[in-house]
Amino acid sequence: MTREGWIRLAVVVAAVAVLEALCRTGVIAHTVLLAPSEMAVSLWNILRGGELNEDILSTLRNVLLSSVISAVLGFVCGAIIHALPRVRGAVEPLLASYYAIPTFMFYPIFIVMFGVGAQAIIAIAVLLSIVAMITATLTGLDRIPPVLRKTGTVFRMSPAARAVMIDLPAAAPYLFTGVKLTFAYSLIGVIASEFILSGAGIGYAIAYAYNNFNNQRMYGLMLLVIIVAIAANAALDAIDRRLQSRLRR
């Protein structure tokens, strides 16, 4: 691990230790916040008990599905927009201001369209994450050095062969950044949607625990969400950094 990595780890460990001390000494009331060690114990009990396995699996499935749909659809839309400069000129300002719109306000529409359940959740998550992939695709295709396309022509490659063998790998680092963002936005979209329009999932279970004053379960699940987000992001980030390192010229 790098020196910066050790410092980062030390900061996190210190923050957790301070929180633990504040909770254990009663500076922070037990009804407000559990000590991190208690959260970990609670999470362990949740996972061991298996009572919420269905909710956890449901959330992970929805996150995965919405990530894949957003990544694929976002890439296709991005590639089409990139190929049509006039459409791009019209659409790009809308994409730039897209995240200024609170996407969750559309949840009643999705309930009407899909009912309360996984489909509406996935639709909200896709709506939230797809633009990140479209933008990453546009950036990736823009950044392909023209000389690589010329090289493809010198090798007498067909447009399809060039797209697969040159354009796609050349744009891959940017596309993967899009995939990484897509996952992060999908996780936010799914968990947040489960709070308001679901009868299952981690978000729903957290809301249920909150409404029933079950702090142990609520904080245990919150810890689970944090761990999933950090672990997935770290794994995707490792691949992302590996791809980006090839761009350093």
């Binding site: 000389v147 010198v154 010229r249």
Partner: protein
Amino acid sequence: MLMRAGDAPASAPAMSVADVHARLKGVTRVYGVGTSRPIVHALGPVDLDLMRGEFFSVVGPSGCGKSTLLDALAGLAVPTEGEVYFENRRIRGVPDGVGVVFQEDASFAWLTVRDNVAFGLRRAGVDAAEITRRVDYAVGFMGLRDFANAYPAQLSGGMRQRVCIARTLVLQPRLILLDEPFGALDQQTRLLMGDELLRLWRETKATVMLITHALDEAAMLSDRVGVMSARPGVFIDFVETGWPRERDSRIVSDTHFGAVTARLWEKLRVESLKSIGTKP
């Protein structure tokens, strides 16, 4: 043997048709025709005969159409007017047997040096044993053996350019077009890369056309140098260097070297001043 100023024709020297490897006949390139953008007459009309096995360089002021000329000869751009021939056939698109090395780094960042060099051979469906043989040779020839499994990002600019040359070399092109391939390199590396290029030229017996802005590079490497005018670029002089085929960068200390570069600069200075809007 140097041609005296005024002796050089403003077109290719007359040689037997059988020796002509590539020919540009009245090639003109005008940008912006039929669009709302301003019309720019970039090149021509240019007549040029590249003789089989010669090392020909093109020098000219910035923006005179040197790269446009190379694109036309490579089949990468269709001339607005005129015809381009390679091995007596009129070309449409990039013909078989032509290799191009660009100024910009064109190595594939996602492939190792070895896979970069093998790229064209795999595309052409060459069998695996032959690919290994040719790639080993090209990688060794360009001094990249110790870096065969490295990625371009791990190499210097000069080494990446060598990867691109090796990738062209393995395809055994009969005409090699180089568009300022050493433009981004420092002077010492450029001289050494020039030596490698001369070695490659002698070994492959290919015809080479080099676009360069460096007069010393053109004078050192070439059998013949074409001097282009300010835009729209046309050839205003051809200088024969008279160097022996066996030569390397040490000829820069030859007394003739100064005479060749002086001759090139004499013509180019006027055109360069024109290109920046100053009266000679």
